[in-house]
Symmetry: D2
């Protein structure tokens, strides 16, 4: 795991099961953090650790709606509605030597659901247990006669703040407040920008994935308990309409809605705005640049809202100012 | 206004502005009601009465997100999660002699929105004031040189209970818990069935419309303060997956989701289930009957979820048992 | 069946199976008609009459893609691209004493399909045979122990012209050229306005339904061979962007697209334009009127494009000129 | 440009403007090719070369629907319905030293369109001219004060065969037959597999892009005339339901439909089938693998159907047989 500059205070927190948060908003903070602090957080997997063998099937083992537990929320000192909450993901490390994936009846992308409702029978339930090989950096799973071994690529399915307008949303929901975006872009080295909606921002995170394909087709990734090291900061400048991410190589906006084109449109329009902020181009020229440079991987097409990432490669975009006053680079400089 | 059998207790409630509820869930009850009681409720219009002339434009006059105020919530004695809350709309009467409609920037069906986002300019704002002629039963509005006079057909845009899973949703949202369905089917003579999600159900209502087209194209109906007379009852039998309505002529399910086909699918699949309950047909025969008899008017294509009504004409459906143990007829019998 | 004024020439045409048209466009005309002529046409049912008993299942009996045969196309003398083809449906009469409906694997609204693709098994196939009782005006079908009897309400699933841009579309497709709209609004007494895309318009019709619910949920109506009496006329004025219908009570636009909200949006925007033509209102006032008066029944949510009807009640719309120069009334006057 | 093994016959073809094909299907072949032949083809840009300066705006310069001209179609000897047409893109080279992009009114992803119709004004028209710097491998464009220089990454927007069921589709349409998929995956080194629908397959290609972002946000890429070197082959084994691509690193399926999730679903379900063919896994295990490994970049969200690529990284998928009998590697071996 990466370490941090000695100047950074690191606060550790591991929730008890009673402290798991099931919603964004509507939950009292577990702790208060000062901007500039690092949090070292443990989060349980989306199944609350209940799927431990291939015979643990979701229907019998899960206790809906108690899935996707969040670690938090944290009250950020000084955060006020409209501000920009800054979370830099320093490191993500699997906290168990196994992860689980599962087919849940009427959930996922290639089955009918409660909304895309049909009269067909559900797909059968099935659970897969992946075993971590830390030395090789892989997770392995048995598929009939076939052994599949895949690189570990840890990410967080869920990072979010309390929603606006007094709403409380399930931790299964992605929207403007972040939440269950399930984007593989949310990996170590990434800075997340979220608009603050309530005093203290009240952010939480969870839903660690040891690996996930773009789209999260079957509805579940390789779900695993995770140790997250996150730098928390705050800018008193206006937060973005949609969650924005920054890595060393890309600026990214994650839009979430249904149908999928609306998730895309929302993120793209915000990306046009971001291009304008970064470059000073007019709106049509920014739209033109977007059209020729954006990389657009699906995040999820299975959650309450679908999510799409619009990525702008830094090497292709001529900028005249850094994003968010250069805070990404400043936070990166604290990481050893 | 209709009157009720003397055996029925009638409780009146008019909220002060401080008592307006802006969400489903997350609000303490304003009163407790026993099943069998009638409520006589006043509700403000969706604009909180702030649009009173054509020069009151939404941008300057409305204070987002404080729109669509609900009257309630009411704690129904004995209501437990899974039960069926029964609300019979005895009467709806305009509580003012004028109503308002308006174009709100980036809101409505024939404009880009925050989700169906584009780079185009918004449509101009405009407010329309309709004047009620009680004697003629009409509302009139001036459109340039043209005077338009339309029949008053009062309905409630919003009726709902507290959501499941600890969620709190804006009063602008329609979903499984009811809410902002904006269906013209929700008119006097209609019984609403909602599944209870929390102790006491915590239902509220509001968003009176003196008239609305199917789809609520521009995002606002002829919005007006309303006096509602509603019989409240409770069945200790399982509540429906989606809001169900019963009138003297139709059984109706209202599905809400995005895209619009998913709102339709969800309501249709529930309607197949209802046909089966009423007729004993197998699932494919019920699907066949649905296919040949359903009337499917749009409710709204503008809200956070879109809503579609699937209506089953009673005269065409051979039933072997009444819906919900015949409670619609029993409640109707209390109305003079 | 209604008769026509003696001044009207009536041309009869019944295609041989070899003359069935399977596409809009790409087919040589079967006949040329002069504007002002009436056509008395026989059309086979969508299954080509191959489903005659409940043991005739689609998989074994149908020969894809040879379904939904059209009668036509007809070359209309003088019709040029941009003109308005006018078709007044005088009468529709069942041409057989039975009709059929069926579940086709991976086709319909409440099943996954080739596009809304899932990994689930298809629903079982099933065929229903309805028997016509002309005296009672009903069709009856056996559903397990239950006998269902429904009013006959004949309509045409399909009316269209050759598409623009040199395209040839399957008779299963609804779009700007009309086609397989599957709207119950297309019934006797209705005038259809279609924009002409090619010399002669090359219109055809078929897909008679003895009855259909709004949405055509299972993908098939009560499909039946039909005798259609249609008055053909032509206006040298610009044809509409989307199919428009006129009855004695409504002006209607049928939009077709996916997702369903886009079918709705397209038809609604054209309806705003039509309101403006009829009333002289400005665009925002026309949008307001649409919002308060439109009736919006689903047509189909199962075809290649989904279709939605936007209906404007004539009694509610203050007009300053008749639609299409009053041709609907003139054609109605020819009917006895 | 790459060269080919001497054993390969190379046929050159440059269409005259009169030979441009505007549709898939409905056009007589320009030539017959034997499987095993290479074609060296010139294709005009999507604007037919009419946008040559920033003052050439689409409205005045383009002649709808004559855009996106195709080179072809070619009749492949021996190709019969159901077969697999194999096209290996050896090389793509800009055929001009400039390319163009443009905003076309009511076309593109971040504007309302004829389907996602609104009452708003269109975005302004604008044309951008990019200049090719072959030495640097870049294209440059002036955006106000800013000069933007981007790497040339040539691709073909359009490759397709004649559709099934006698349809003829505009060259602007992507669907099961390929067509206007606008996916950056269609680049040199890629083998395309398409199911043959008619005798001779009748494939054509065009719509060269010197570069395109994923999604083709504004509706147009850097459109440019292109020299394409393509190996043509044929397998008498069943062709895929949706266009499949193979590169040295990925197997890819391109689904096209609306809404965007249906484009995704269709391609994903086909990808599950392909995983099963390649690995022998059962359907649920294949679904699981897909969920954890697929890369899912948008192709376009602007065309008649939207397109999404589902990419399977070869390095992650344990296969027991090569795709399509190893033809990709055999064709690659012919390239020097």
């Amino acid at each position: 795991m990466h370490t941090l500059d000695d100047s950074v205070e690191v606060v550790e927190f591991t929730p008890t099961p009673e402290q798991y948060a099931w919603t964004f908003g509507g939950v009292a903070p577990v702790a208060t953090v000062r901007p500039g602090t690092a949090l070292k957080l443990w989060s349980d997997d989306a199944f609350c650790g209940r799927l431990r063998s291939v015979t643990d099937l979701p229907g019998a083992s899960l206790q809906m709606p108690y899935v996707n537990p969040q670690t938090g929320p944290f009250f950020v000192e000084g955060a006020e509605p409209g501000d920009t909450l800054v979370l830099h993901v320093v490191d993500l490390e699997p906290a168990r030597d196994w992860g689980a994936s599962a087919l849940i009846p009427f959930f996922g992308g290639l089955t009918s659901t409660d909304r895309t409702a049909t009269l067909q029978d559900p797909l059968p339930e099935r659970t897969w247990i992946y075993h971590l090989d830390s030395a090789r950096g892989t997770i392995g799973v048995q598929l009939g006669e076939t052994t599949l071994e895949l690189p570990v690529e840890p990410m967080l399915g869920t990072v979010g703040v309390a929603p606006a307008a007094g709403e409380v949303r399930s931790s299964l929901v992605p929207d403007t407040f972040g939440g269950n975006m399930d984007t593989p872009e949310l990996k170590p080295g990434t800075t997340v920008y979220l608009r603050v909606n309530v005093e203290g921002a009240l952010f939480s995170l969870g839903d660690g994935h040891y690996r996930q394909g773009e789209g999260e087709s079957c509805g579940t990734a390789v779900e695993g308990a995770m140790n997250s090291l996150v730098l928390v900061d705050l800018l008193k400048t206006p937060g973005p309409a949609w969650p924005r991410l920054e890595s060393d190589t890309h600026w990214t906006v994650v839009g979430s809605s249904r149908p999928l084109e609306d998730a895309w449109r929302a993120g793209q329009v915000d990306a046009v705005g971001w291009i304008r902020e970064l470059t000073g181009l007019d709106v049509l020229d920014a739209y033109q640049v977007l059209s020729q440079i954006s990389e657009v991987p699906l995040a999820n097409a299975v959650d309450v809202n679908y999510s799409v990432a619009t990525k702008l490669p830094k090497r292709l975009l001529p900028t005249r100012r850094p994003a968010y006053d250069g805070i990404h680079d400043r936070l990166r400089a604290l990481v050893r």
